[in-house]
């Protein structure tokens, strides 16, 4: 029996060594985003589509866009004050706080809707309360935590994204509320494609459709209906995760806009703005990140960000560094140093909460977690030992085969 095991290991090693030679990961010449990122294109100069698109941003006539925005808002503003002018999906973070402030400046009466995360942090709670205090009607929708935790775990195991249910409710809940309360306009902040490039059609669009949601909304191919029957989940548990059907949307006439299309939208700028209105930041750089002003509301985010690193070889630190490089705040060589310090480190804690506590809440052991990590790791991106196994450091940290373009 042990004789067979030996044969099997040897055969597997043989299969591994005969696989194609790993070629190095190619990074954008301008920022630090690697070619592995979904929906990114690199041109002949080695510049990524996000950088190209950012360059193109200088040509926008913001004054004209502002006029457009005011026209859109006027079209949807309630004539007699008996309904809300718009729905804003909020989290209490820098962007949603800024969105609310801007909408109030523009004379809108929004209904703010938040889909609370399961692992809401204390600072996240304080920021939500701060947002309410700006002077808005606020609907806080918490999903059934027992179901939510099962879905978090299921999504982690099935698609390697613990935050899949949060991504879903960010889109579905404001839209469900809009339909139910007959509010036509939903105001979101940033169209992710504007900042990060992507196929041209979506990057310049300014309304939300169901097709858009499913293509770019980060659903990773998993649909709400796929959950039914797994872990005792039934359709009736999934109401908040279910996108309203096209008929209801058409009947109410729900549409969505992205403020990021109508005004320059930048994370750091929004953080500075929101801070003046009471938004609170973390006392130090957040684990795996390069900043202290975003993703403050969910202790599971550390795991979520880590899986991006495992699948694609870059994490939140790279995203933030690249954004600052594009805007001239960081030189690329300094950005690389910072990324090397923080990117993709194993998420032992997030906002100070231990991974063991987070895993316990979703009923997963540490070993099970490591197993799932391995399953989703794109092994060709990382250094492996001579048996073809991932080389993990003492702190479980993985090492990429290259973190910048070879000379």
């Amino acid at each position: 029996m042990s004789e067979y095991d030996g044969v099997e290991t040897a055969t597997r090693a043989l299969i591994h060594t005969r696989s194609p030679e790993p070629k190095p990961i190619v990074y954008c010449r301008s920022c630090l985003i690697p070619e592995t990122k979904p929906d990114i294109f690199f041109d002949e100069d080695g510049m990524c589509s996000a950088c190209r698109h950012y360059d193109g941003r200088d040509d926008v006539d913001w004054a004209a866009r502002r006029v457009e925005l005011e026209a859109v808002l006027e079209r949807y503003r309630s004539k007699d004050g008996t309904t809300y002018d718009c729905v804003i999906g909020v989290s209490g973070g820098k962007d949603s706080t800024t969105q609310v402030i801007r909408m109030l400046e523009l004379g809108m009466n929004p209904l703010c809707v938040t889909a609370t995360t399961d692992e809401l942090s204390d600072i996240g709670r304080r920021n939500i309360e701060n947002l309410k205090g700006l002077g808005v009607d606020f609907l806080e929708y918490t999903t059934n935590p027992i179901v939510r935790r099962r879905v978090n775990k299921l999504a982690l195991v099935q698609v390697g994204d613990i935050s899949w249910p949060e991504h879903v409710t960010i889109f579905t809940l404001p839209v469900r509320i809009a339909v139910q309360m007959r509010i036509k306009l939903i105001v979101w902040g940033e169209n992710p494609q504007n900042e990060y490039g992507g196929p041209a059609a979506a990057a310049t669009g300014n309304t939300l459709t169901r097709r858009w949601l499913e293509e770019f909304g980060g659903l990773l191919g998993l649909r709400v209906t796929d959950l039914v029957g797994q872990e005792d989940i039934e359709p009736r548990h999934l109401i908040p995760y279910t996108y309203p059907d096209d008929d209801d949307l058409a009947r109410v006439g729900v549409t969505g806009i992205f403020l990021g299309y109508y005004m320059p939208w930048d994370g750091l700028q929004n953080a500075i703005f929101a801070q003046s209105y009471g938004f609170e930041t973390w006392p130090q750089t957040i684990e795996g990140s390069l900043c202290n002003y975003e993703n403050l509301d969910n202790h599971q985010t550390g795991i979520h960000d880590y899986f991006k690193y495992l699948k694609y070889g870059f994490g939140r630190a790279t995203d933030i560094a690249s954004m600052h490089v594009r805007r001239g705040r960081l030189r690329r060589e300094d950005a690389l140093k910072l990324v090397r310090l923080h990117d993709g480190k194993f998420p032992w804690t997030y906002l100070g909460k231990s991974i063991h506590d987070v895993l316990e809440n979703i009923d997963m052991t540490f070993d099970e977690f490591i197993d799932v990590c391995d399953r989703f790791t794109n092994k060709r991106l990382f250094v492996t030992d001579r048996h073809g196994e991932l080389a993990r450091g003492a702190d479980q940290h993985l090492t990429k085969i290259n973190d910048d373009n070879p000379e």
């Binding site: 029996m1 004789e3 067979y4 099997e8």
Partner: protein, 206 residues
């Protein structure tokens, strides 16, 4: 007590799916090409993807034909032949060249003959398996459930009583056979999702 299931490796194909399927069902499945390992098994599975002559050559070369005969026919270990594994139980195979099989069931392995409605061979895809009689192997499985087939040859049994189930393709053929403790299925239960897993689970208790 976990069932120990020996999955016979005769060098032709992937055995991981079969092994994982049994493990999912709670059995202790191990892959082996050693005749001496077979006596430790509670059940024996002979999977198979490939051509008949190569398969018999490999089985004989490793002494597995005799070892299997001993454990299954003499010692009575429950046995499941899958796809090619079912075909190998025949007297004679006509694939590529005429080759003698294990001769456990009076039968021959011949090519499926296309008909007007069933024009295409190999038979690839999901098709109905209709049990000819009650059997523990098909317990809890609806009478015309679909299983996954991928083959060009089929087993023509000399005795009707050996035919456990048929599938209506190319005039109908035996998709499952049984004699005492010896079972064979032409389809791939490990690829046939819920009913396939149910069948394998049933095999663990025959």
């Amino acid at each position: 007590m976990k069932q120990r299931v020996a999955i016979v490796d005769y060098g032709l194909c992937n055995l991981d799916s079969v092994r994982r399927a049994f493990e999912t069902l709670g059995a202790q499945a191990f892959v082996t090409d050693l005749p001496s390992d077979l006596e430790y098994a509670d059940r024996i599975v002979l999977p198979g993807v490939g051509a008949f002559p190569d398969a018999m050559r490999n089985l004989r070369g490793r002494g597995l034909d005799d070892a299997l005969g001993m454990q299954v026919l003499e010692e009575g270990a429950p046995f499941l032949g899958v796809c090619l594994g079912m075909q190998l139980m025949a007297d004679l195979g006509h694939e590529v060249e005429d080759t003698k099989g294990l001769a456990w069931l009076s039968s021959q392995v011949t090519r499926l003959v296309p008909t007007a409605t069933d024009r295409r061979v190999p038979h690839i895809g999901w098709n109905e398996v209709r049990p000819a009689r009650e059997s523990p192997l098909f317990a809890g499985i609806p009478p015309s459930a679909d299983f996954y087939f991928v083959h060009s040859f089929h087993v023509a049994c000399a005795h009707d009583e050996d035919v456990l189930a048929t599938t209506p393709y190319c005039g109908g053929f035996a998709s499952a056979v049984q004699r005492d403790n010896v079972f064979g299925v032409q389809f791939h239960p490990e690829k046939s999702q819920q009913y396939g897993l149910r069948l394998l689970k049933n095999f663990l208790s025959v």
